[in-house]
Amino acid sequence: MNQLLAQPWSVWAILLPLGMASLAFLLPRQAVRLGLASAFAIPLLVAGAVLQVRTLGVVEHVVGGWPAPLGIGLRTDGLAAALLAATAVVGLVISLYAWGYFPSAASGNSKTRYFWPLWLFLWGACNALFVSRDLFNLYVTLELVTMVAVALITLAGGTAALTAAMRYLLSGLLGSLAYLLGVALLYGAHGTVDIPLLGALLNDGDLSRAALALMVSGLLLKTALFPLHFWLPPAHSMAPAPVSALLSALVIKTSYVILLRLWFEVFPAVTTSGMAHLLGSLGAAAILWGSFMALRQERLKLLVAYSTVAQIGYLFLVFPLAQGETAVTAWAGAVFFVLAHAGGKAAMFLMAGTIQQTAGHDRIAQLAGAGGPLGVQVVVFAMAGLTIIGLPPSAGFMAKWMLFNAAIVTGQWWYLLVMAAGSLLAAAYVVRVLAWAFLSVDHRAYPNMPWVMKWPPLALSVVALLLGLAAYEPVLLSLTATPAAGVLLQGVVP
């Protein structure tokens, strides 16, 4: 048992997908088999890593035996473990769905041929990003994630998808180069890019502030926070459904995780409450604007994409809410929100894809009456929506509850109002789809979809719905070695 625990599980969770991706690229006929095998194997490796963090605390791994500052250090802390786990669960569901969505590899279809290697590369790059402990390695993994994501969007084919991919690539490049310039400034001043070392060395000054501004604004562009969200709706809605799901559920979270690490681990000596409120107000604006735009969309996938713009806003409320004693509550709320959104939004996008494939289009107004033959699909879509709205007992509810708690304790009631308004608007746009679908029941014959395009998303939405009841474990996991201090949920000691 002890020997099993001593294995570097999180390193295997990076190497396996990267290796399998190369194999899948070289052996296109076996791509589906390799992809599905990895999709089942990675969650097991991640389970090992999570168990390790729960029993031993933070796990450090020095790649190649070269210690910092020369070598690359990997560090699996609570945040990393929670995100590895979320990616594993969502990744498995997306893989199963993609198996049914893309035509079989034997027919020589180029979409199937390229989807699997790219998706496995993306999975490996995400895992590597979560456990990186130095700023430069974060840059490299972030670029890997972006480039693979761009390539995945182009799988949809057509001018619209290509332009969306190009916009995404250019804004992604701008974001990561701004981030890299910030890294250069920090390295020049302190001679290291190691996150814990920098956190101890950094003091307030013009240079630190310039680096913070460059890095944060680059990452805001990559995370698509309002008003820098212009690239997100076309990119996320044009991509094939499994790709949309992984872009919305996983890819935007990667740059957000870096932001969290920067804010709480690298720059706590530099950040001021004014900066926190700036990010918080942008987040609040994102919630209102994204939800409003989602309500107005005529296409289902664009609706879901704008809903992502809104949900990103909640993630940024952590910065003003994490003050003093409430820091840990807001932190846990934000991390749990990431998990809730990953599950809920992936299920929503996958079901939107199933509805689009079955009906042949995704115009909401023309789905009138689809509630009969497409009843199951529409209901699963709405169930996934429950966690996005934040109804109890969903994971989204628990995450918002923690953010609410932090807002009440710090007396920032305006954020409460925004969150409540966001929930109401989310309910409105989910119910709008339901209302159209069940307006009248017709008995048009729709083609039948493979079971993997219905049941795995259903399972995922059930997980997201019930995760709120089992919130204790993931919250505790995310708090392992957390940089945020204070008392969870005011008075309740974890």
Binding site: P69, L70, F136, V140, E143, M147, V150, A151, T154, G158, T159, A160, L162, T163, A165, M166, R167, L169, L170, L173, L174, L177, L180, L181, A184, L185, Y187, G188, G191
Partner: protein, 104 residues
């Protein structure tokens, strides 16, 4: 102003020149080149800082980082160029569509 600092300032200027071109230029090839120039600016900052922090010779770590950065730049340039070619083949334009055009 010492010479490394001068180079670092030059790097920052290159970065902002590239940034300007990325926003203003319409042709996709120019946009990809603009991103390249931004990247070169960042690399120049890295290299000039290596000269400044090193004691008894330049610091090798930024050089390793820049090498990695160059690999990343080559990959994103290739990806950007392929996308630009594909967009031109599909739409006959070598720019991003404006609002209201097909594919916007």
């Amino acid at each position: 102003m010492s010479i490394p600092l001068l180079y670092a300032a030059g790097g920052v200027i290159l970065f902002f020149l590239g940034l300007h071109a990325l926003f203003v230029r319409v042709h996709l090839l120019r946009k990809v080149l603009a991103a390249n120039i931004m990247g070169s600016g960042v690399f120049m900052v890295f290299i000039s800082l290596a000269a400044r922090t090193g004691e008894g010779g330049p610091d090798p770590v930024p050089h390793a980082m820049v090498l990695t950065g160059i690999v990343v730049t080559v990959s994103f340039t290739a990806l950007g160029l392929v996308l630009a070619v594909k967009i031109q083949q599909a739409s006959g334009r070598s720019r991003l569509p404006r609002k209201g055009e097909e594919g916007a």
